[in-house]
Amino acid sequence: MKLWLFRRTLPLSLLAASALGVAGACGPAEQPTPTATPARIPTPTAVVAPTPTSAPVVAVATPTPTRTPTPTPVGVQIKRGGTLRFRIEGDVRNMDSLLSTAGGEQAVMTILYENPVRSTRDLGLEPWLAKSWEVSTDGKALTLRLQTGVKFHDGTPFNAAALKFHFDRALDPKVGSIQAPLLQQVEAAEVVDDSTLRLRLKNPDATVLGVLADRGGMISSPTAVRATAKEEYTRRPVGSGIFKIKDRVSDSHITYERFPSYWQQGLPYLDQVTARIISDPSVATAAFRSGGIENFVVPQATDLPVLEKTQGVNLSGLPWPGFWYFAVNPTVKPFGDPRVRKAISMAIDRNALMQVAYGGRATPLYGPIPPAFGWAYDPAFKKYDYNLAEAKRLLAEAGYPNGFTVSPVVWFGGAERKSVIEAIAAMLGQVGIKLDLLLVQSAVASKGYLVDWQYPAYYSGVGPRPELHVIMAEHFHPDSPKTVGGPAIVPAGLREALDKAAQTYDSKERGALYRKAQDIIVEDMMRIFLYSQTEYEATWAYVKGYTSHPSALRNFAQTWLDR
């Protein structure tokens, strides 16, 4: 029974709020409306009548949507129309959500697709096409109640059958979706009625909802999928989102136009959205500054001072959902000794490192939980912090008073990463550990270290991942192929903590379990955690009704251009 999941699972933060102890109610999830009512947390009221199944059902309160973009204050005249342009770094390969594998593809898919659940600003969850959901007491049945009146861009209605088609396709080995391993606990999807779908799970798994908030939950029109050849569909998919694809020019742009039959009347305000493909980061910044694009994620930290000073630019901080680390191979001497690993952690001054690499725009990390996950992150966790004397003492105790040489230390990347790894080498030099740096191609490096366990040391990062479970399990769970050293080196209690977290719907409990796992990981110093940086999204001030999301999942539902 494999409970760890490769990639994407999303913590169900707000589910906790009312839930488990109380046979609680499901206050009706508020529909995001175009007016400016702020979100309210529903208070538990009545008990929900059990649905006609043999297993008693416990209603789990569905969180209230909080990720509606900042609505326009009442009284301001909204101007309809116009085109909003944002930047993406490179052209995308697959826009079929179930076949998409590359990181950049979410940014263009999120414009035209919708999901049963959505990711919130602190990387929690909120209901969307699934108005509410319930979990059976044995945890093996998850019932989704769906929004009605939703249509796909080709007119096909969205209903339980369409969602079932989506699940069947995701799990079909002939389709070969990478979402399949993430949904491996789903045995079958059953249509209960037109707007109710029940997922039968092999084992309790709270991470399924998280998968549905990302690519795994972007729903395609079954009619379009059946009628179009695979290669053609992936270029022009059909979703139910606010915009639909208008045209695409390879390596130039993707243009979307307003979907007039969108289920929320009156939205969107914009006529068109264009994703402009600009590879060169300096050109991207120039394009923004000259008004060629309205929004982009600032690619170079060196551009920030200029943008901060420019009139009419709104900068929004995006905490990066991932972490950067320095890894030493526990199967290679002397790294099998945890004292040596701890000494390395204590020889590194992370605050100084931040100044070197990001001009201070990053958070030092001592464990795998990044600050982006507000519901699990503990800012007070600082184990094995910078302490040069203690580092030297530990090394001497382990038998290396004069340090040793590590060769090769494999890394890949550009100027920022270079300055970080060189700073680390200088810091470790102070305790006598000499690093022989070797720059290689990324695929070679990651395969060589994570898969073949070939190199003694490695500097890289994990992320962005909108699901904390993936971050925690991918490199640390005993069953994961990327846990360097294999299950033998994984400390006791970690498997249990991670597996239990994957089954917990309550986000407070879950957060505590991940913090427990973090403690185990750091006490064994399975990786030396370094930092998580803050990226910035820049938008011109005349763009109203737009809020950033840490994974740059742009939502232009209520956006309008004030000019």
Partner: protein
């Protein structure tokens, strides 16, 4: 003339075949695994095997070559692993962009280089000569990626006259098309002009020393007539050789310029093909480039024949 042409063509056919063999084998020298590139490093190994089979990467290389070559002749150049689009369709869509960039850049380089070359040759070792030479050498010495970004900042951000990258088709909006192409064409033309200029200058200097030039002056012909009507035509043969080579070099430079300015051309296609290990794309672009270079050389050969009657009859 006809025999000359036929002989040239027959010579180039085996060259083309050799080009296809080299093109095909080169891509296998690229490090990395295309299936991993497609699916990501973290993909299931079974899925990777499935993809390798689907892409035909598990067949022996000569078999893959034969299949590919057969496809080339029937118009099936394969599909991009990345975009799923047919390679020929992509190339057809992108060729106008690169053609416009290449032709205009080429024309600009000639417009800059030949007058400056003639001017500096007619005034050797003067201030004018040095200035002209410096100007052209600047084009070579200044890295194009730096110049491109600097020009974008000047014209797009500071002055706001031109857009910062992007492309609009000529038939969609001619004015905007000219605006988007202005900087790329300038950068390309400027950097290519130096080589042509130097060659023009040195072969002009040789020619200007000849007796018949002195005769022309003695006859009382004006400076410009002597230069253009008598000297240039004779000086042009070595320059023509350079131009043939320039086509090949410029194909390479378009890759960088298109990437920086965000033009959806063939060069950019090649760059992303290589970095993403999109083998069919790399093969397709290399084949196209090889053909273009061979055609350019063929054109050069024919032009020699026109310029110099002595060559035609050998």
């Amino acid at each position: 003339m006809k025999r000359f042409l036929v002989r040239r063509l027959l010579f180039y056919l085996p060259v083309m075949l050799l080009v296809t063999i080299i093109v095909f084998s080169l891509v296998f020298l690229l490090p990395g695994d295309p299936a991993v590139m497609l699916l990501g490093e973290e993909a299931d190994p079974k899925l990777l095997e499935l993809y390798r089979k689907e892409l035909g990467l598990d067949r022996p290389i000569p078999v893959q070559y034969a299949a590919w070559l057969g496809g080339v002749f029937t118009g099936d150049w394969g599909r991009s692993l990345r975009t799923q689009e047919k390679i020929l369709v992509e190339l057809r869509n992108r060729l106008p962009v690169t053609l416009q960039l290449g032709l205009l850049g080429f024309a600009l380089s000639l417009l800059i280089a030949i007058p400056i070359g003639m001017f500096t040759a007619s005034r050797p070792n003067t201030v004018g000569d040095t200035a002209g030479t410096l100007f052209a050498i600047g084009g070579v010495a200044i890295p194009d990626f730096w110049a491109a970004v600097m020009l974008i900042y000047l014209f797009a951000v500071i002055l706001g006259w031109l857009p910062a990258g992007g492309y609009v088709g000529f038939f969609d909006d001619p004015v905007q098309n000219m605006k988007t192409m202005a900087l790329p064409v300038f950068v390309l033309g400027f950097e290519q002009s130096a080589g042509v200029m130097r060659q023009t200058r040195s072969s002009m200097l040789d020619v200007l020393r000849q007796d018949y030039i002195r005769t022309a002056h003695a006859k009382g012909l004006g400076e410009s007539v002597v230069l253009v009507r008598h000297a240039l035509k004779n000086a042009f043969i070595p320059v023509l050789t350079i131009l043939g080579l320039r086509v090949a070099i410029m194909l390479g430079r378009t890759a960088i310029i298109e990437t920086i300015f965000g033009l959806p051309g063939v060069g950019r296609f090649a760059v992303t093909g290589v970095t993403q290990l999109d083998l069919p794309v790399v093969q397709g672009v290399l084949l196209l480039s090889g053909t273009v270079v061979i055609l350019a050389n063929l054109a050069t050969d024919i032009l020699y024949g026109f310029l110099d009657p002595r060559i035609r009859y050998t």
